[in-house]
Symmetry: C2
Subunit: 397 residues, 2 copies
């Protein structure tokens, strides 16, 4: 994955000593040269990290210069001291950038219940500010600075033309892989040089997140630190004047978010299959979402896919406990394009051939078609393997 | 586990050919010699087996003679023909018992999406009626006739004295173990020779189920066939005349239900740890339940226990996404009696010693203490092991 920073954005990443492995970045900075309009979407968890508390409040001011991110320590469950440490981090960056601390946001990801190593950050922050640059390499170093157990950095760019001028939307993300005793997190930063007002920034981000980061699940365990930020600095001078242009930008933003979200699933711990779940023909999008989520989070559906087993009983029964009203005869199910359940009854199909295809292909497409309406949702998930269990139960004292 | 049938109840079990292994029973019958008052609690799944549809309707008549159960075939997702087959099963038994078909209930558990082998049942039903007996051996054979991947039959009796006369409450159950491509189920039949009216039978069963079968989870996947039945035939002549007597019976019924429910967890597929989750100090029982359920169903909590890892971060964050309002500082957490998190902050403890104890003991007690009220819930679950994944993804075409 490669990407370019939008106009007026800078990035950097380096190793400052939070992680023990010196080859791994643990500090990242994404900054706009001028104040940017910002919106954020945060974890709904009642137990959330100090950086979430700080950043959630600051995005309501809607103008920010950027975000500083450390990996290797989540600064969560750390009480008042954690809050002060998160504010201190932003103040350190702001002092070097010569802006207000309130204009800097902050994210942390890694082990929870430990205080931030301030000495390491105190040395690391001036160094990462010093390295800020607009190059592709600087962007990738920043993306690496967010990583915990990710095996590759996640970066996506889209360029669109609005009124004859090119606009860039670029996002970086890190994944929801978790290894004991750490708890990792989903973080994403999306930047654009378009000029949007606060309401546009917020609405467009929420629309994109609802169709991307809110439609992925590795194990259904909501982290304490999940954060998605969207910065617009207007450096391209481009504003949206027509509905068509707005739609064009929304589509590009959706693509960036979706590509980052699916990259997280492709990098899920121990995963052997990438699973796309489409639920169609529902009365409302919310109903489709509830069913898609239950199917995607069922351990029995996931282990069936691991075993290359076209087990429609597990899929249909997971739909059945999603607290959505329907009848068996409303349900038709396709697996990788093969119809295996129709209007509430099993159908004849070549079980061995379909199983072989799942085993070889590593991509699985579950399509549940209902007869209740026109609404649909797409969800992405990974299978559940012995390797996932090994990774997450591998603890030595 | 041993148990005795209450007065006036008969049981039998045998192999009639639904399962390929002749050593395994696949047909069971539990019958009262006289009509009994009955209540039932059934799966909430929108996709449910034909026997659930039939039995759910018949318990509303509140008088029944008993229940016929087959294992090896769930008669689920089988449409109108499945419904007719379930009714036919009860009619076959009723003809031999000389009662109305509507007085017989029915349960089926095993593979879904296949029609019942009526020829095998047609021969098996007269044979199982012929074998009906009040002996302990007959009860155990009946309990074995319900089993799918269970490794032991589950039977419990309690005897209490009411007004100088002994009353017996006896239950049998089968577990929620699942092996591809089968989907198994939780079934339980509880019988007593006490005399209860319809309302008492229904209320007492729901009270017991809410504190037992509704508080267990192996993988959070609700089956299409879950059924708990409670028969009272009044043969002891004993009625309840005081509140104390009512409480005594409720307590005995709760114990029977709880022992059967926890036996299901002890027999969960691949499980290495038996986990008890207590959530205390909540404003309502429902809030406590929501938190206990999220902790019990978190793959990350379960794999941490598998790895003997006292990972309070995973437990506290699972509580945080249960959609219950609380603050971090309301939370204190004990693991096997050791305080590891207090008022929202980590505390010092001997991590290595606690981990060793979890590894050696195989019993884990998670106690989450909130400061919000007096309500509490106890939940039981198993850990998530590589063996669970192996069993549920082991599919050969």
């Amino acid at each position: 994955m490669t990407a370019q920073l939008p106009g007026g954005f800078l990035s950097a990443g380096l190793h400052c000593g939070i992680k023990s492995d010196k080859a791994k970045n643990d500090l990242a900075l994404f900054v706009s040269e001028t104040p940017a309009v910002v919106a954020g979407v945060f974890t709904q968890n009642k137990v959330c990290g100090a950086p979430v508390v700080v950043s959630r409040e600051r995005v309501t001011q809607s103008q920010a210069r950027g975000v500083v991110i450390n990996s290797g320590n989540a600064n969560a469950c750390t009480g008042d001291r954690g809050l002060k440490d998160a504010q201190w981090m932003t103040a350190q960056v702001a002092a070097h950038l010569k802006c207000e601390p309130a204009q800097m946001l902050v994210c942390s990801t890694g082990v929870i219940g430990h205080f931030l190593p301030k000495d390491k950050l105190e040395a690391g922050i001036p160094a990462v500010v010093e390295k800020l640059s607009a190059t592709d390499e600087a962007l990738e170093q920043g993306a690496r600075g967010m990583m915990t157990t990710d095996t590759f950095p996640k970066l996506v760019s889209r360029k669109i033309e609005v009124g004859g001028t090119e606009v860039t939307i670029t996002g970086v993300a890190k994944g929801a892989a978790m290894i004991a005793p750490n708890m990792a997190t989903m973080l994403a930063v999306i930047m654009s040089d378009i000029q949007l007002n606060e309401q546009q920034t917020d609405l467009m981000l929420r629309h994109a997140v609802d169709r991307s980061f809110n439609c992925i699940s590795v194990d259904g365990h909501m982290s304490t630190s999940d954060t998605v930020l969207f910065f617009n600095n207007g450096q391209s001078g481009v504003t949206l004047t027509t509905e068509e242009e707005e739609e064009l930008l929304q589509q590009a933003l959706n693509e960036v978010a979706r590509e980052l979200a699916t990259a997280i699933i492709r990098d899920a711990e121990g995963a052997e299959h990438f699973i796309t779940v489409d639920v169609m023909g529902m009365r409302t999008r919310e109903e489709a979402y509830l069913i898609a989520k239950e199917i995607s989070e069922s351990a029995l559906v996931k282990t069936a896919i691991t075993g290359a087993d076209p087990n429609w009983g597990r899929i249909v029964s997971a739909a059945g406990y999603a607290k959505v009203d329907f009848e068996e005869q409303d349900v038709t199910l396709f697996l990788n394009g093969t119809k295996i359940f129709e209007a509430g009854m099993p159908v004849e199909y070549d079980d061995a051939a379909l199983s072989r295809e799942i085993r070889d292909n590593r991509e699985v497409h579950i399509e549940l078609q209902m007869t209740l309406g026109e609404e649909r949702v797409r969800f992405w998930t990974s299978d559940l393997t012995q390797e996932y269990v090994r990774l997450n139960s591998d603890y030595t004292t």
